[in-house]
Every structure is written in C-alpha cells, then in structure tokens.
Subunit: 388 residues, 4 copies
C-alpha cells in the first residue's frame, strides 16, 4: 500500500468548487426552513464559501447560479471573491423559474421561448467573460408529467438545435457541460435523463462539450462508478456534482449516505486519470443543507471528499492487479477494502497543520464563533434561497 | 362476466373525497407555477370541488387541510359547502410548516414542541366538531436526514405517546387514520415509513385508529394491492389517498402512470369488501396539478377511479375461482385481463346521462367556459398554495 | 382517431420472432419445474414455435440459442422449419455456461478464454450462413460480483477488441446486435449495463452493429420508451427483446405486468418509424414460462404485442399534435389514453378470421387438444432447458 | 468514545451461525459454477463450517437445510459436529423443490399439498429434537407470477392456518421464525413479502413466533435499520440472515456491498439491546459464494460482522445523545461516523491472538494449504448444491 507521504502531492492539488446556492436556504416542496446567519446577497454567499476555503484549503472557487446570483458588476464580484481568497468558477444557467418555462425551455415547442432560454445562456456567457469562468453548466428542468403531453422526439431535436446555438458562441477556452437527471421536477420524462442522452447530445456539438455527472441523478441500484469509468474512457467526463442520497435526488452531504460508493467513484477517478495534473475533470458540490448549518455542512462535505480521495489514492494497485490477474476474488476485494478501511483522519490532520490549516476544520469553525457572529450581523434583508 | 347493469348499484354508491389543496397551486422545490383562476380562499376551493361533483356525481365531500384552510367560522364554511352541494369531510392536520417543527412534531424530543403539535391536532378535533367531520387524518413529515441525527427508537416511543394523547380526545364516532410514507421530506428515515409501522402504531391505540394508504408512498416495485388486501384482512384499512407516480411521490393524476395497478388495487378492494355498503374504507384523492388545470385535473381523476372501479366490478369471479382452482395460470390471468380490457366508457357515459349528469364531464367542463370565467373573476388576492 | 381498417396493412406486416428456449423448461435458482409435453430437441422446439405461428400468423421466425440448439445439420434444421411454415431467425450466442467463463468471456483477462468466446461467435456466424440468418445477437453474462474483482476499464477495452474481431467476420448482409442488461447474473457490475454502453460499443464497430433493447433490463423507474425514442432517433435500434417484469428481469409474458408501458413503447416505435416497411427494427420475445404452459404462453405474448400495436396505431396523431401545440396537458394525455382504452379485441378477432386464422387463438389452441397430445407423445428423453 | 477494552466482553459473546448450504455450490438460473474441494455431504459441509469457527472463534453453530442436509442419523450428525467443535443450530425447512410445490406449499389451495408441506415441517421438528436445535426457520418460496393467478387473501388465510398447525407442535423451548422476502422466486407477489406481513402472521401464533430479517429481502431504498429498531421495539426480532446486495437478493458477502448499512444495522442492534446477554436475537449468515472460494468467503463474512460490531460498540452514546438533544445535526452525525471510520482491525487482530486465534484468519487459512488439500481429497461424488 502506498504511504501517506506518497499521495500528498495529489491531495495538495485537489480543488472542489462550492455552489453559491448551498449557502442559501433550501428545502422541499413542503417547507423551506430558515437558519440564522444565512446570506442575503451573492457577496455574502461568496464570503461564506471563502470561509470554507480558508479552513480547508480545498475550495478555491465558487460556482454561480444565474439569475440567483445576478449582480450589476460581475468584475467587481470577481474582485470581491479574490480579495477573500477565492475565484469565481462555473456559471450555472437557470431556465426553470420563469412562468414562460412551465412547459420547457431549450426544448419548448414555441420558438420564442426557446430563444428566450438561449438568450439566458448568452447572458451566462457574457458573465463568464466578465468573471473569467471557463465552464457553462446546463442543467435543464425540462420534461413532461404525463404521457402524450409532448413529443419526446421533437423535444430532443429542439434541444440539439438550441444547444448547438449556444455552443457556437463559446470562446475557444470555454466549455459547455450538460448535466443529466433521472427525474424531478418532471415526473414522466426528463429531456436529459441519463448519461447516454447527455453524451449523445454533447458528442453532436464538439470537443468542448462534455457530460456533468451528478452523483444523485440515477435510478436506484445504478452502478455510478461504472459510468464514471465509461465517461473517462470516452473522454467526455467534464465535471462532477457531488452529493449523496438514500432514495431520490436527496442532495445530502456527499459521503453521508453511502461512503463506500464515494470511495468506489473516487477509485475509478484515480484509475481513469481524473486526478492527473492535466485532467479535464472538475469537481464541485451540489447540495442542500435543509436542516443543518450551511458553512459547516460545506466544510464537512469537502473533508469527506478529501478523506475518500486519500483512501482511494492508498489503493495498492500492484497488489490489486496481481489478485485480479489470478482471479482471486476475495484477495482483490480485500486490497480495495484495505484502503477503504484505513483511517486517514490522523495523517490528514497532521498534514493540514503542516500547511498552516487547522487540523480539524469542523472544530476550528465551531470554536471560532463565526456562525454566531453571522447570525448577529445578518439581520434584516431577505435570506437567499431558491425562490421557488 | 357480469353485465354493466349488475354493477351500477355499487357505482352509484361510489364517493371520492376531494382535497381542497388540489385546487391551489403546487409544484416542486424548483418552482411553483401559477394558473389563472386559482382559488384564493377556502371558500373558492370548495366551490371548485363542488363543480367537480356537479359534473360527475362522484365527489360529495371535500377534505380540509389545517392551517391551510383556516377560517373563522367552520360552521359557516360547512353551510357554504352544503349550499354548493357538497359536505366537508376529513380534516388533515399539518404540523410541518412551522419553524418549530424543523426537527419533528409529534416525535420531537422537546416536550414543548410535541405539545404544540398535539394542540394543533386538538384544534383539528374542534374543527371536526364544527364541521361534522368524522376522520382526523395524520400525515407526518417527521424524520431525519442523517444517520445519528436522532434516536429512531426514542422518536417511535414519543410518537406512540403523542398519538395516544390525541386518540383519547376522539369522540366515539370519530376515527384517527395514520398515513405512512416511504421518504420525503425526510431523506434518511421517516417516522412512519411503511404500513407495518402505521399498523403497529394504530393497533396500540384502539379500534378507531386505522391506516391510510397513499398509493404513491411506497418503495419501487412494491406490490401495493397486496398491502390493500392485508389491511382489509386485518380490518385496519381506513382510507385511501389516490394518486399515481412513475418514480417517487409524484402525486400525478390517479390512474395516469399505471392504470393496470389502479385496476389491481380496486380488484382487491372489491374482493376484500371495501366497496360494500358497510365498508369502513374511505376513498380520497391526494394529488398535485403542477402544470395542468386543476378542476379538470380533478374531474379526470375521479373519472379514472370510476372507470377502473367499473372494470374491477366486471371481473367474473366464478370463472376466476374456477381457473385458480385448476391452477390454469393463463386462464386465471385472462379472466382478470378481460375485465381490465373492457372499454366501459360508452356504458358509463350513457349511465351518467340517465342520472342527469353530462355524458362526458371533461368535455362538458371544457365547453362550459367555466375555467375562463374563473380566470376573469379571480384577479387580485393571493392564489392558494402550500406556502412552503 | 384512425379506423381499424386504416391500420390493418401495418398489422398484417407485423412479425414477432419467437425464442426457441421459451419452449423449454426454465425457472429460478431455487427450482426449475417441468411441464408435460416440453420439447426434448431443437426440432421439437421449432415445431412448437410453428404452432404459435399457425394459430396467430404473427411469428414467422424462430431464434436459436447456441449451444442450446446445437444440431449436426443446420440446413436440415432450416428445411424442417420451412416445412412447418416458419424460418430460422436470429442466432443468439451463449458464452456463459462453460466453466471457462466463470470470470468472463469476451471481457476475460485471459486471451485464451477471450479467443474461445470469440470462436464461439465465429461458430454462430457459420450457423448463420447455413440457416440464412442475418442477425447475431450477443448478450453477455460478463461482469463481477465484488468491487475490485477486476478492472472495469480493462474489461471494457477487451470487450471492444473482442467485438471488433467478431464484427470483422460479418458478411455484408449480416448485423451484430448487442444487448445490455442492468444486473444478473453478475451483481456488482455488468460489462454492458445500459444502452449508453451498448451504443458506445456498437458505434465503435460500424453501421451494422446495433443495440438490442430487452424491455426487462433496466433499473426501477426507467422510462423505457424514452430509450426507444432515442435509439430510433440515433438510428441504432436493432431489435427488441420483449417480456415484462414487476421487479427485476422477471421475464414474464410481455404486457402482463404493465400493459400501459408496452403501449407507450409501441407508441414510440410507431412515432419513430419502427413499424415502417423499411424499418431496421426486429421484434422478438425473450421470456420464461416457469409455471404456465409454454405454447399458449407464447400465443398470449404475441397477441398482447398485436393488441397493443393496434392501440398504438389508433392514436390520433393530428389531435395529439394539436393538443401538444397548445400545451393542453390533459387533452394531449386524453388523446393517448383514448387509444389505449379502445378495446380492439373484437375487431382483431374478425380480422383474423378474414385471414383464415382462428378468431381467438388461445381458445383454438386450448380446444385443439394439442397440449394433451404433446404430453402423451413426448415421453422419455430429456426435456429441454437451460442446463444451468 | 469507549476504548476497545470496554467492548471485548460483548465481542467475546458474539456468535454467528453459518449456513451449511454456503459451502455447497450455488449460482444463478444461468449457471452454477463448481469449485474444487466443494463438500459432497452434510458431514463435509459441517467440517468446513467448523474450520471457519476454528480460525475465527465466531461461528459455534451450523444451520441445516432440510432436505438438503438429510441424513439417516441426526444424533450422529450432531456428535460429528461437536467433535469438530461446533453445534447444530437452526433447522431451515425447504418446501420449494418438489414438483408438488409448483403453485405453493403452506399456501396451496389443495389441502393435500398443504398437509404435505406441514408434514415436511413436522419432520424438521423431529430433527430439532434429535439435534437439540431450538429454532425452526421458515422461508417460503410461495407466491404467484401473474395477477389473478390465485387469491392473495385466500393464500394468506391458508398460510395462517398452516402456520398455526406447525406452531402447535413446537416444544416449549422451541421457536418458529418466519422470514419475509420482497420477491423471487415469485415475481408478481410473494406470500410473505414484508416485515409487516411476517409480524401479522407470527403475532397471531404466539410468543414463540418471531420474525427473521434477511438483510437482502427489501425493496430498493428501504431503511433496513429502521425495521431492525421497530422489531426490537415490538419484541419480535427473532433472527438475522446476513448478506449484502447491490440490486436484488444478490446474497453477496455481508458488508461487501454497503458496509455503512451494516454498521447502521448493528448500531440499532446495540441500541435496542440485541447484543445483550439475554437477547433473543440470533445472528446467522445466508449467502452464496457463486464465484469465490466458500470457506474463506465465510471467514471474510464473519470477520466483516465482527469488525462492524466493534465499530458499532465504539459509538460514544453520551456524546451522541448530547448532540441529538441540542439538534446539532452535523455533530450527531459525526459521533456516529467517528465510530464507523475507526480502523479496528489492528486491535481486533491483537485481541484474537490473545485468545489463541490467528491474528488474520484470512491469511491463516490461505497459508494453511487447507483449500488445496480439500481439492485433492474431495474427488469423485457429487458436489453439494441446491439441486434446482
């Protein structure tokens, strides 16, 4: 098994983008509970993200959601971020909250509404120029609730056309990543339900169109790490949206529901070169903190990814290949499990300290009194949320 | 196979309670779309429900959700309903939208909040006295999102105690029905996740505590009609919440996603005496109309139940038992399928007309111009919704 | 809505291939029950398939499974089939029952075993030349049971190489169809788990490599008709394996578990041109009759497909498009449901009679005494089965 | 957090019963692969089980499956076991492999076949008297494949009657445990599909009838530890059948697919008193080793249970309750995760050595040459299997 010292170079490179919306209130269709200290503005969300990075060294960029994070001056927002020690990252388009999008956006049968949705993406590209972001991430809420409601095929063709129009506007250094989702908010069909559809759509666009894999967007029982392997093999894995789930798209803290699955995913990332220096894969969180505090929720999340990455990096690949070659099923499985069961928390804590970070970022945050101060300072205004 | 004339007595008895909240706006955590003509008040919701009954003869009662349907004078609300041709029915308690309930209601570890939730149910009982309602329906959003968050066992015990306190207050003619739900809004565990738990809880209370079966609240692949059979066999099936789903608790129009499942459920209801005159089983809808018009959505729903009930009543039980007894699998299945495949729409239309109802209630509603008038009249105010 | 007379040309063209193995005994890992009259030889299986075609006019070809249907003289077997009124169809390879394939076949890490599996496919191609079959269908049992057991990526690359070697040997008029399956008999991962993987593999081969969609090989909740639409759109839908399921790959009679899903699938087939005269899509059954009689089980199956095809052909596409264009969700759904609920059995019976077929093939078979005669004649020998 | 020394008393008491059938060949409906050295007789299976106990100290008893383990002299078989250091444990009835049981056993509509199945259980009780076993475990393969095939209700009533007849014959020190299973080998319905049905049936029998929970017998997404908690709370958890699964009833090595789930289950066992000295809960494995060697497969399994038990015992309950009481979701979850992430392997190894056991039983077995000797010795005869 590799020693911990063998893996720190890779760990030091690890970067996990935080979603600005994780710091706002979220919930279910039944209730969105609020939390004292929740940010009211994009600037406050970025400040919270910067706090996570300050304590962990793991989260150097923040993703924006447009129009949730609309501001007048994106260059100023970028400077605000840099002053706090982070950069602005992926721009996420949102074409699901305008009444016009009730029956679709990029797939809508009405050309006027499709153009409105395309224009919304053009605005995202403009923002990317201002912020220096390279990735435009598209998750569509498009779909139908009832069989017959619309033509599945016509929607797919319209989607292809809309995406092509957006893709043409990309600058050479920019990428489009297309997320897929099994269901919700549409219940009969979603227009990009699986990796196969996302791949078919982005392959038709060009080399800078890639697939975004959200770990919670699959049917029960799906082997997610297989998809990770396949997309890496095909050169089309653009980014991860990390979170975890027990049932549906629960958007729980990554690693909370099935830590072993997270380990297996990261094992395939390592095996497929996804952590190499020249890797095209970006890692980000896409989570909700419905009942827990948000900043420590995000700290916990990036630590979970870091801990599982460390374990995945500790897999003894030589021993693994030897056991695999001899079809010793139990031995091969044991090599993998040895890494998974290794408690890396102590070594990670020491390594963090050696880099000027708190050994235990969760405790450091709890003891800092920061959460209490935020609750005291952030009174009045409207707490950020999804505005559903 | 029975003739249509043989089943009309039973069909004439059929009553499907409508949920007041189906007429308000609903949606997902991503967006609640609005519809012109949506009611602003409990009175307008009841008027819409009465319209459904007027056109179908199937929906003589309306269920209320407290506090969504809070009014000053429930007796007056009941008179309003009766003037429109319907009665007030089941009272549904809601202990999931107050900030105090963030970590539970009847299961909360804080006795003060448990009492608050119990008091909310006492208020429901008071309303039942004013409205003449007999059923108190309890669906709990209680649960946890993360392993370890709370003690599963302690919550179960607290639930038992809270329910017992509520049950004691029931008048002799009143019933408590406890709904179960697989997941959502809690994602790690819900405190009443399955029929076994609901049965265990209501059995501990007494004879007037029964189980409510919502057809969308099960794990993938669950044989729902088996549960219907079992609860009828055990004498504990209190009521149905009808809806349909493809994936999770989609709350789509009943019969829309899997009409054959609805048929099988109603076949078990018939076989188990659930449609008999002295049956204790009540039928109601619990649906969302996120994108379709609400009044015709409810008309479609009660018609779907009626059509499938008619088919279920057409099963040739003598032929079925004969084929079953001889283990002729294909013949037995064919007897069931013969009833399922019988197109009852023509005979139902004629029968409706014979009773002074429109032959095609969907068309009658569409041609009446009622929806347009509502959209014109109901301007201003705040459209009803879940207020999540 | 189209009249029945409008759709009979298409119905007359319908051909559903029968699997020879459906006539042998099958079961579960717990028990394979036998049935009197079960065939002992490939010739007897073909005779049973011919009986299904004789009574339904729907099943002009029979698929073989090699080595289950190994004979000395395939040309003679083909003549035997033609004498009985049917033709030999798809050749299915079987590389999962030799001890050598314990850890894989086309994906095995040992080149010798991969070559053995490739050779098995070469033999299938030889048989195709003798029988005149055009389709080689590959379903792989390959996969692993435990994380770490083998490299997912290396197996995928070996699969690509093996398939390429087989594909090179295809004659110009022959096709390779690659089936995918979610799980079973491998439990951790299967090497072709989803349509995306099958598509990626066949796309790398060439135009005559296509995807086979088995309706039971998906995760719970998967929208199968969406995949049908997508594969038709991408020009890569080669064939269907029809069956139905409640939970896993139950291999029940097609249309038995969810007739509405079968309707929706056939609606997408119609919409995507899959029933057009020049369609490249082939239709076959892949089922087990564990407890019911096999010949009537197959008759029931092809009738189910025919009945649902008729309903799908009755969809009023003009009305559907009109409702879709105006976003009238309920009206669009109703157009689809109108076709689904139309009882086509009477008109189909009359049309069958007009073509010299029994009006009710199930009854005709039951009354023919054929099953009893088979049970009397086929004594001794070893009943055909999977030999697991 | 408790120290390791605090938990060794409980660990020393841990006993996990091994299933004799785990040492025979098993597989899927597609293929049963063989392994050199597989036992040919019940005596050899017991010898293999004794080897597992010898190396781990965890498996003092062996469960038998009747008729798979039928012998002439059960008292002699018991002596054979004791000489090897183990005892005979639970007797598992098998009423699913006789042709008579094609349509059911204890639920069959034919009283003659029901009596045959009841008699089979009486024989199991006779064997229990000879072996000194206290538990009769009933898992039924009964169910139907097609809607309408039989009356769900009548089968349930017949099951109740059959079970009552068997229960009456129990000696005062004997127990009946009834296992439930979601699906397979029946696909439309199983007669004991869920814990609610099992509980309803055993509750009608008496105090010595309990529920058996097989960890693989649930729908996707089911919170199994909740059921553990509930059955413990209701005093009806009789025994566990441990295994793991990714999709269906995969019967993989316990802890292999979702180690965190196993931890959560054992946490509820600890919390509910299931490991207390007077606990009524018995623990056993029910697994298949389709492709891996069986003896080390069983060693790995009991070690997995031991390791997760140790982690569950290390949960700091005081800290957990404190965090729960203050609704600090992240802190409460962290207390649980701290125990889960603690690498107990080193301390367990040292503790094993202190008790005269090998530090690493897997390595000890591999290095012993035992497997090779078995392969050399056990030639000829028929390897044990399910005989499906």
């Amino acid at each position: 098994m590799p020693r911990f010292a063998d893996i720190t170079d890779t760990l030091a490179r690890q970067a996990i983008e935080l979603p600005s919306w994780a710091f706002g209130n979220s919930g279910t269709r039944f209730k969105v509970f609020s939390t004292p200290g929740t940010p009211r503005t994009p600037e406050e969300k970025i400040a919270d993200a910067a706090k996570v990075h300050e304590l962990t060294g793991l989260a150097p960029t923040v993703a924006l959601h447009i129009p949730w994070d609309t501001v007048d001056d994106y260059a100023a927002l970028g400077r605000h971020a840099r002053e706090l020690g982070v950069e602005l990252g992926t721009i996420n388009s949102n074409t699901f909250q305008d009444e016009d999008y009730k029956f679709g956006s990029l797939t809508h049968s009405d050309a006027r509404i499709r153009q409105k949705a395309i224009d919304a993406h053009f605005r995202c590209l403009d923002i990317m120029h201002a912020t220096g972001s390279t990735d435009l991430k598209i998750w569509l809420a498009d779909g139908t609730n009832y069989p017959g409601q619309d033509s599945l095929r016509a929607r797919q063709d319209r989607l292809a056309e809309s995406l092509a129009t957006i893709y043409e506007r990309l600058a050479p250094h920019q990428r489009l990543v297309l997320e897929y989702k099994f269901f919700e908010p549409a219940f009969y069909h979603t227009d990009v339900p699986d990796w196969g559809t996302s791949l078919a759509q982005v392959s038709a666009l060009g080399d800078r169109a890639l697939v975004c894999l959200d770990t919670g967007h699959h049917a029960p029982g799906t082997n997610v790490e297989f998809i990770v392997m396949q997309l890496l093999r095909l050169g089309r894995l653009g980014s991860f949206d990390f979170n975890s789930r027990f049932y549906a798209d629960d958007d729980l803290i990554v690693g909370a529901a099935d830590p072993f699955q997270l380990f297996r995913i990261l094992h395939e990332v390592v095996a497929g070169g996804g952590l190499a220096e020249d890797s095209a894969v970006r890692f980000m969180l896409d989570q909700c903190h419905n009942i827990e505090d948000k900043i420590p929720g995000q700290i916990r999340s990036v630590l979970n990814v870091q801990e599982m990455t460390a374990r995945a990096l500790l897999v003894d690949h030589a021993a693994l290949e030897k056991a695999q070659a001899s079809h010793d099923v139990l031995a091969a499985n044991e090599v993998l499990m040895d890494a998974f069961q290794t408690d890396v928390r102590g070594e990670l804590a020491a390594w963090r300290e050696s880099r000027g970070l708190p050994a235990d970022p969760m405790r450091a945050y709890a003891e800092s009194g920061h959460q209490r101060r935020l609750a005291e300072q952030r009174v009045g205004g409207t707490q950020a949320g999804w505005g559903a």
